[in-house]
Each structure stands twice: as structure tokens, then as C-alpha cells.
Amino acid sequence: MKEPSASEKMIEVVDLHKRFKELHVLRGINTVITRSEVVAIMGPSGGGKSTFLRCLNRLEEPTSGHIYIEGVDIMTPYIDINKVRTEIGMVFQSFNLFPHLTAIENIKLAPAQVRGLSDREATERGMALLEKVGLTGKALCYPEQLSGGQQQRVAIARALAMQPQIMFFDEPTSALDPEMIGEVLDVMRTMAQEGMTMVIVSHEMGFIREAADRILFLADGVIVEEGSPEQIFKDSRHPRTQEFLRAIL
């Protein structure tokens, strides 16, 4: 693989470690994610996938190592992490919509509060995003009035409202009923086609095969193998990968 140029590098991770007291979850992760790349992270549970993703925007504080987002080391002490996070949208397994706000208010909140958009601008942006995820009619619904798939689509719209450079997905379809997975994956597929840089923790094989540029296989806190979907699915080298794929395919 040829070394990407500095301007193409979106995220660079150097020797990332994370310990929870006795537990050494991430044991030195190194990788580069380039602009518009769609990276899927796979691996057995407890392998550190979610922790890795959450370390990348410091929702989880890494123990040591360096993370460069667009060339800026976000581990330097006096960095404004809120500023960094505005460039990284995050979608959670359990949606985490704000239950006291309607769908449109969920989406408007951060652009209005953080970016300082006027209420009208924020509403317009929010409605455009709701249209994009196919939920224009649900703008005034509260989260509890929406199905799981609809909630997750609102959550994606909420993250996109900050117009981030990068999107993180932490098992976005794991909490959904099977018939709702498709609608969420459709939205993600569109985003990938539009050139969004995406990091996705997921086990949706079909989706990964078709949308991902690269798979990182994470086990025991290290990247044991990485490569394109064909390479990993058809012809994985590492025994951990083979064992995992045999179990889920």
C-alpha cells in the first residue's frame, strides 16, 4: 500500500494504548485513515473496537499515544476538544437521542448552541437533513414516538447537522429489529457515496463488503489484520480472523 500524502491523511493513530485499571484494552494501535475512506472495524467482542472508536474523539481518554485529526495532535494538553468533536459526528448503538426534545430540536441543538446558527438557519438545515434521511414528516415527534430505525436515522441527521468531516458509527444497527436495519444502512451507503470519511464498527457483512474500502480486524487490543473486504473475507491470513469469520458467516 502506498504511503498517503499528508493532506490526504484524515486520522492518524500512533501507538494508541488504553488501560482500564488492570485491563489493557488497546495495546498499541497504529493506522492511517485517509479522506473519503470508509473503514470498517471488525473483531470479537471485548477486542476493543468500541473503545478504539471512542478514544478517537476522546469520549474515552486514551492512556498514551497520539491521534492526529487533519494533522492536529488532539492529545496535546491544551487543545479544545469540543472544537475537535464538532468535526467528528458520532452515531451510537443505542441512538442516545435527547428524549425531552423533538426530532428537529435534537438536530438543531448543537448547530445553534455550538456553531451559533440562528434558529431559522438551524431549522432549515435540520429539515434538509430530515429530508435526506427520509423523515420530513416526523420533525415534531419525540424520540419515544419513533421506531428504532427512525430514531437512528434522526441520530445520523443530528450528527450530520454539525457538518462534520468524519463520521463514527458504533454498532449503529445492533440494537435494531431486523426489518429496520436496511433503512439505516441505506442512509449510511448514501453518505459513503457522497465521499464522507467514515469509521464503522459493525458486523453487517453485506454492507461492509459493498461499502467499505478497508477492514481493520481488531482482536486483543491490536489490529491483527487489515485489508480490502475481498482480501479479508476470501483470503484472510491470520488465524484469529479466520476463526472469527468462520463463526459469523
Partner: protein, 346 residues
Amino acid sequence: MADSAREILFFYGAMQPQPGPPDIAHRFLRAYPPWFRMVRRPAFLAVTLAVVAAFALFVLPQPGAAGPAWLYSTIALFLLLVLAWSGNVLADNDKPEILKLAVSLALIAVLAWLFYRYSGAQWGKLTEFFFNFPKLKGNWWILRDGLGVTLMLAVISAAGSILVGLAVAILRTYHSPTLNLFLKAYIDLLRSIPMIVLMVLLFFALPFAGISLGSITCTVVALSLGYGAYTAESFRAGIESVHPGQVEAARSLGLSRWQTLRRIILPQAIPIVIPPLTGNLVSMLKDTAVASLVAAPELLKRARELYTSKTNPTPLVAASLIYLAVLIPLVRLVNMLENRRKKRVS
């Protein structure tokens, strides 16, 4: 024959009309003996009620008009009759609830009347001392002013305790070990110290150090600090009940700590906290009475002044009736809020 075949035949048989007495089941349902059905008829109840009334009017002796043996045995018999009659009504599931309520109230009235008439207490003296409301004539405004001061103390201290409590609860969300040490010390100390001790310390001890707070200020400070500790715990419980995923989602959008608290956590925590908070405030309203010890001119203090000047404790009774009139609706309100919250949760 195979078991399954036998079973099928059994069920087939069971579905057929049964031979034998036509309503064997009904005989069990109607198994009350005839006398039992009789005593529950309205006619029987009316007649027996007349008997009980006649007993009360003609048989029960005047107190002191008969020897104790005759007196006590007739009273006991009367009690037995009354209890049997009302028990007969109250135990009947077919009687309407409104009738049962009426019978219960009548029963209480009859028992009270018996006690009033035969206990030998000197009711006149009691009335003269404790329920001598004519003596209060022209002095009600004093109690009214006292109530005004009580309510003012309660409202200011409520605002104070909510501010203190909210501030402490917010500071606790920083999870700073050093800060938490002091906050916990404050909460533990103020929750263990009796309100009366706190007030007396502030009012009588501080002047020796050269700090004289007025009695009103003293009360407000003591109540705000004391109930602030309880309020802080309520707020903390509310804040902790908000799912941690909410904070993560907010922070991942780039919201600051403060924005997350103000826009995400508090709007979800406050509805949860309102019922216990209202409960705290009701207790606080009651505790304003302690301020009478530090000479704040609130309701109890004014009532005690009247008690001294009139040499009659009726003002105290009047004051307690006023407390009841204010507090019972508030207690009901707390109950209602609590029920509404429970309904929303389920």
C-alpha cells in the same frame, strides 16, 4: 385403550349435557344459610337500627343515674349491638360504598358521643382553656401577620435551599475528589445537625464572635443551608438518573460541559426531582416554626405571645389549625405529583 384415546373420550363426555341435578353448581353458590341471607335484607337492617336507636334513647342510663355495674353492662351491650350492626353492613360486598361510608362515619360519631358522655372528663374546662375562640376576638390579625412571616420565611428559604442544593449537586458532577470531600462533609454535617441546634448556634453563638444576624436572616440562612443539603441530594439523584449515553451524545456533538448540563441533563433531571423537592419544601415550611426560638415573629411565636398575654392556650390551638390548613393541601399536592410521576414511569 391408549391413554390419549381415553382422554379424548373423557373430554367428549365432559362437553355433553350432564345428567343428575340440573344446577349442582348453583347449590354451592347459594350455600349461605337462610338466616344469613335474612340478616342482610334492608328490612332487617332497618328494624335492627330502630332497636339500637331505641336502646340508646331509653335503655342507656344518664351518667351517674345508675350504679356502675348496671351502667357498664348496658354500655357494653350497646357497644356490642352497634358494632354488630355496622359490621353486618360493612362486611357485605353487595352494599353500595356510599352506604358503607355513611355507616363508618356514624359509627365514629356514636363512639365519640359515648366517650364524650361517659368518660367523666370535664369537657367544659377543656373548651374554656383550649377552644376559647371568643377570647381571640380582635387578635386574629396577629396570627395573620405571623402566618405572613412564616410564608415569607418559607419562600425565601425555599429559593435559598434550591440555589444551594443545585450548586452543590452541579459541583458534585465534576467528580473532583478534593471538592467532593468538602461537599460531602457539608451534606453529612447539615443533614445530621438538628435544625433547632443550627438556628440556636447561628443566633446565640455567632454574636459572641461579633457577628449578629437578625432573627429573620438567621432563620433564612439556617433553613437554606440545612435544606440545601437535602435538596442537593435530591438533585444529585435526579442528575444521576439521566442515562450516561445522553452525556456522551451531547459531548460528541461538541457541546461543552456547561451546555450539556443546561440543555441536556437538567431538563431531564428536574421533572424527576420535583416530587421529592416539594416534599422537602413542605418539611421546611413546618421547620419555620423552630424560628420562634430565635424570636422571629412568625406564626408560632406570635401565637405564644398571645398565649402569654391572654393566659390561655387557645391561640396555640388556632395556630396549629392554621398550620394544618396550609400544609394539608401542600401534602396532597406532593402526593399527587408523586403519583403522576409513578404513572409516567410505568
